[in-house]
Symmetry: C2
Subunit: 232 residues, 2 copies
DNA sequence: CGGTATCCACTACGATACTG
DNA sequence: CAGTATCGTAGTGGATACCG
């Protein structure tokens, strides 16, 4: 076992575990609650399955996760490393401009969103939402249409027509919706400006903004307007 | 500019900046106060100079550091990223066993140490300390002997005989000294056990343990004895 | 569902030498 | 001191196919 950095400094040792390609993003998935291999992969779709398996093995060997009964779980050490992932994310939310063309991916957005629905605010009956995203650069492989089938307490994400009647149609510019998701701009403002259009069942249109909890990073305070932020 | 991860998630965007090879360690040097190119390189000696220059350019482009008048400085964003470096280091101190054979490097240890001397506790006059490390695997290129020339408020690290009379001789097992440096074991205990030997001027022998401030990570609380820690 | 095996392409990196 | 230039290579990881 050769050390990448050859330093006994704990920053270097921790970096050998944490600062590998894809690893922070895999850990983010685990922090957000993914447990199965394919489930994790949905949150990191552009990693190859072979490499994902390798990274999971490495994290297991490092004692950050445990693999039992086909589930991956953060150990105690892993949960503390999860706090580092959160601070890194908070830094990104504060100091970068994450919504850029080559980063837009509707799969990821809907995958994240379906975990952040306030199920207790949903009506008792099943609610079906259909999303249509536009403003996606051509040549992108991700679908433009997604469905949420929400039946308390479950929220299922579909990429093929689920066959139920749709209660709410959401038609949105992908970049604008991503900015809403990240808390950079209030959803009602974007609806007013027309970059997000809601139609269908009257109550669903009215209540949808309250169902959607937004990213856990949406609440991160941003630097003052006067401070220079980065375009990275 | 193609995105590494193709995700607008701030964790991914921040990882594109932070979780690159060597970058956390370069940032650690900046956090600890290094400013010049060669100064930074002394704290990251195993990176090639070409790659260090490239990383510094990338960090500048990302707005994490600024290069002015031949000095690199953390920006406001960089200082906040420095907090992430510190938490990562704290995690490493808590959950890893950093002192392993292939990570020992006396250059790094002495380089870090010379920045952590309580100069205000030193005598008025110049004090010269000579370190001799043993227990280093053969084939290691780093010297075994180093000198600190301490003349308030400066502490100079030398790898060649500075020509002054030596006040204090420190002869130590490198691994043991590293453990002391990281706060894993008290210096007086290791001196008692014989893995560190102090000789020379009587007062210097007595006071040396109080001059040496230890790593900034030495004070990190470790998990309870009963909790499993990693050997990574 | 949850992976492994194989193969190949690339590129990031280290080594070395050189420059203002 | 503070880098740049050049070049060869090790190793990383993507693609594809296969398996229990």
């Amino acid at each position: 076992m050769k050390s990448r950095y050859g330093q006994f400094c704990p920053v270097a040792v921790a970096s050998e575990i944490f600062a590998e390609r894809w690893t922070p993003i895999i850990l983010r998935e685990l922090v957000l609650g993914s447990r199965g291999f394919n489930e994790i992969h949905r949150g990191v779709p552009r990693i190859s399955r072979a490499l994902l398996a390798k990274r999971l093995r490495e994290l297991t060997a490092a004692g950050v996760i445990e693999a039992t009964e086909g589930e991956y779980r953060l150990t105690e050490a892993g949960q503390e490393l999860g706090e580092v992932v959160k601070s890194l994310g908070a830094w990104g939310a504060r100091w970068t401009a994450p919504v850029q063309r080559d980063r837009l991916d509707a799969r990821l957005l809907t995958w994240d969103m379906h975990r952040r629905i306030a199920v207790e605010r949903l009506p008792e009956r099943r609610v079906v939402v259909r999303f249509d995203f536009h403003g996606v650069p051509a040549g992108h492989k991700a679908p433009r249409t997604y469905w949420f089938v929400m039946e308390r307490p479950d929220v299922d994400l579909c990429i093929i027509e689920p066959g139920f009647e749709v209660d709410l149609f959401v038609s949105a510019d992908l970049a604008s919706f991503a900015r809403v998701w990240l808390g950079e701009v209030p959803i009602r403002q974007v609806v007013r400006e027309g970059a997000i259009k809601l139609s269908g069942n009257r109550e669903a249109v009215r209540d949808f903004p309250s169902w959607l909890l937004l990213s856990t990073l949406a609440a991160v305070p941003r630097p003052a307007e006067t401070t220079q932020r980065r375009v990275a």
